[in-house]
Every structure is written in C-alpha cells, then in structure tokens.
Amino acid sequence: MADIKKTLGLAAAAAMLALPAFADTAPKMDSGDTAWMMTSSLLVLFMTLPGLALFYGGLVRTKNMLSVLMQCTLITGLVMVIWVLWGYSMAFGGGTSPYWGGLGKAFLAGVTPASLSGTIPEYVFVVFQMTFAVITPALIIGSIVERIKFSSLLVFIALWVTLVYFPIAHMVWDGSGLFFKMGAMDFAGGTVVHINAGIAGFVGCLVLGKRTGFGRDNMAPHSMTLTMVGASILWVGWFGFNAGSALASNGTAALAMINTFVATAAAILSWSAIEGMARGKASMLGAASGMVAGLVAITPACGFIGPMGAVVLGLIVSPICYFFVTTVKGKFGYDDSLDVFGVHCVGGITGALLTGIFAASSLGGVGYGKGVTMGSQEMVQLEAVLTTLIWSGVVSFILYKLVGAVMGLRVTEEEEREGLDLTSHGEMAYHS
C-alpha cells in the first residue's frame, strides 16, 4: 500500500491500457468489479440528473428554474455524444503525448463487448469516464445562470470539453499524461473536475457580468427543499464518483467510500458551526454547502488518506469555503451566482493540497511513492493545481470571448427580467 503506483486507482487501470507489455498477465473480467463499476457509472449520472440540476435549480428564482434544468440536461446529451465520437479517444485513446490521447479510438474504434480495461469491460470504463466528462461542464453553469444565452452555452460547452476537459483528463488519469507522470495524487478528479470547472465558471461570471438587479432584487433560492434534495443526491452519487474511481470492488474502494462519508459529515458540521457562531443560526443552505464542500475536498484524497485524516480535512474545508462565498465574494462583488468558484474551485484546491499532506502514513494515509517526501509531493500537487488553473482559465476566457463575439453570451435585460423559462424555452416550471 505504500507504493503509490498501486494506489493510484483510476490512473492505475488507465496505465494498464497504455502498457501492452503487461498484456499476458492482464487480469480477467471480474463480475463483482463490473457490478460495482456499472453501479458507479449510473450513480455519477444520477449526480448530474437530477442531482446537480436540482441543487442548482433550487437556488435560482422560479422564473429561471427550467433554464437550469435544461442546461444540465442538454449538456448531458451533448457531451455524451461528443464523448463517444472523439472525447474518449482524446482522453484515453492510447496516444503517448502527455497532453492528449490522440484519435485512435475516435468513434470507439476497436472497442467491443469483449474488450477489457483492467478487470472490467472497456465499455464500462468508457461510460464511467463519460459521466465525469458530463458533470464537469455542468458544474460551470452555476456561475452564469439566469443570464446566459442557451444556444451560446451549448456551443461554448462543446468547445470547452474538447479543448479543456479532455486534455486535462488525459493529463491526470492516463498513464502517459503530464500530471500522472509527475506523480500528482488525485484519486477521483479534484483537479480535472472541480478546480477545472470552478475556474471556468469564475472566468465566465467575470466575462458575463452580474445579473440584472444583483444586490438589489431579492434573489433568494426558489426552493431550498430542492436544493437539499439535490445536495443529498450528489452525496449518494458521489460514492460512484469516488469509490468508483478505484475501478474495482475492493479495499481501496472501501477506503474511498468511508472517507467520502466522514469528510462530508465533518464538513457539514463545521459549516453549520461557523454559521452558528457568525450569525447565531445554522441554515439549510449552509449545511448543504458544507456537504458539497466536503465532497469536493475529499475527492482527490479519498483513496490516499485515512478516515481520521478525512474527518480533519472535512472540518478544515468548510470555513475556508465559507470565507470565500461570504467575505471574499462580497468584497470583490463578482456575481458567481451559485458559488462555483467559492465551493468547487476553492474546495478543490484545498483538497488537492491537503491530499499531499494527509497521505503521509504518519497521518494515517497510504504513504508516498519511493523517494517522495511530503514537501516534494506538495510541490507536485501545487504544480498540478496551477497548471489546471491556468490552462482552464485562459482557454475558457478565450472561448467565452469567441462565442460572445460570434453569437452573444447574454440574453436581453427584458428577457432576463421576464425569466429565461418563458423567453428561452417557452414554458413555465409551475402551474396550479
């Protein structure tokens, strides 16, 4: 367990695909691993639809509810199709570039029901990874809801997954990927998913500007109930995300699972505690935010650290995110509408850096690779974080500007006032 290679979970299996020399000792298909990975795949879909859709949808005003649901739904449809056309290949196509996987598996060329990826059918690996490719861009919308133009969003997302997500997924999870080779520890995708989406959302809200009436109109969540349901579904589904990233049904998955339980529990407690101290009342939105912050932070760490480390990590992350979504956001006045930056990006960075620390066997973690110290590991973690921030931040900026120039990014103020549901989709969420 001390050997980092063995514990890299997802990455390990990806590595196997990339190393044909191992072929003759390749593992057989295991029905238990396959069962777990199929379950995990649908759990991650469940996270997006209806999980994230409800978590976000509950937070917007009634008049924009359907627009959020539509954005999540259409991103899901769009990215899934793109994934089997060229996405999977760009990420895991077998190419040896550190930046992308090539086009060798475009259209899933060569993949059959008999193909294996480790101990599971390759099709299962394809769908599992597909669900990650779907939820990541869906996370972005939280920064830009209630004003983004629907068609522009879809074009932006199609470009974004191609130029940002697939390359970074390759870097982190593929055996030939940049971060993988550097030895970055990211068990279930803290960089690829949360930091990546978080910074893309942040750039988005800066480019788009604030919602009309921001700071003046009451923009309270139209249904905190739905938001709580969405957050709960995210938690349940996240076990597919995290424990599924072991790519097997074994002790590593079990470790990822227990950590995903307790870090989240601790983060709920610490967010509620800090709210209780700061304003005398713990709110449901606070507890739900803590839940998500805990989940985000444990994502990179879950297969590497021990349960006590996970509790501490959960306790730490909430106050940090709380500080960002209240103080920092208030101070700078950007309208990161549903706090994608404050929770996903900041929580993701916190998790990535703490992974490198709590992985120490002295702190109950699985330990570092040969010759690696806590300090050196932290440098690698930092490098992965910064590279992601820059790559995603810069390319996202360019794509927003590009799409904005060609087709415009925002709806009109009139449409914003009437609500996107009616003006962009021709329907309303609720009738009597």
Binding site: N218, M219, A220, P221, R279, S283, L285, G286, S289, V325, T326, T327, K329, G330, D339, G342
Partner: protein, 112 residues
C-alpha cells in the same frame, strides 16, 4: 351596503370567521397578502447574500354587509383579531352601490 376590508394576522382567520358567522355574516372573500406597516419584516441570509423582507404575511378579508350590520362586524373583527401586539391589523369601511347574487340575480341586501 358597506364593504369592510380588514387586514389581520393569518392565524386569527378561523377565529374571526367563526365570530363573524355567529353574528350573521354569511359570506366573505379571503386573500393572502403581504402586509406593510409598523410591524417589521425579517432578514434572510443565503450564503453571503442578505435580503431584508419588508413585508409580513397577512390575510385580507372583504365582506359586504348591510348598513345595519356594519358596526357590529367592525367591532367583532376588532375584538377577535386583537392580540395587543404590533401588526394586529386594520379595518376599512367603504360604501357599496349595488350587490348581485349571480345564481339568482337577487340584488342588494337580498344578495348578501
């Protein structure tokens, strides 16, 4: 005939309705409204965002009665809706020209 409009606290509705029924009121229209007055609203905080809600939930009654019953109705509402706390509400009286019962076409006092 008179139209009596009253804004009262929601949890007093049943009590007021019963009291009015017992003095002979046979109909009314009830609307959930947002009241603004000296009773202050509340503040909600969602993550960083703070919203002052200046309105308080109230219930509005609209009752048309014959001139003769009017004072008694006003009185009954006043007594029943009273909790002696701020925000108990207001009663207004207006003149009604004409009343019609749709089902029968009866008019004025007969229509009430």
């Amino acid at each position: 005939m008179k139209l009596i409009i009253a804004a009262i606290k929601p949890f007093k509705l049943e009590e007021v309705r019963e009291a009015l029924t017992s003095i002979g009121v046979r109909g009314m229209m009830v609307t959930e409204i947002k009241g603004f007055g000296s009773q202050s609203g509340h503040t909600e905080i969602y993550r960083g965002a703070e919203y002052a809600v200046n309105f308080v939930p109230k219930v509005k009654l609209e009752i048309v009665v014959s001139d003769s019953l009017c004072d008694q109705v006003v009185d009954t509402i006043r007594k029943t809706a009273k909790t002696d706390k701020i925000g108990d509400g207001k009663i207004f009286v207006l003149d009604v020209d004409q009343a019609v019962r749709v089902r029968t076409g009866e008019t004025n006092d007969d229509a009430l």
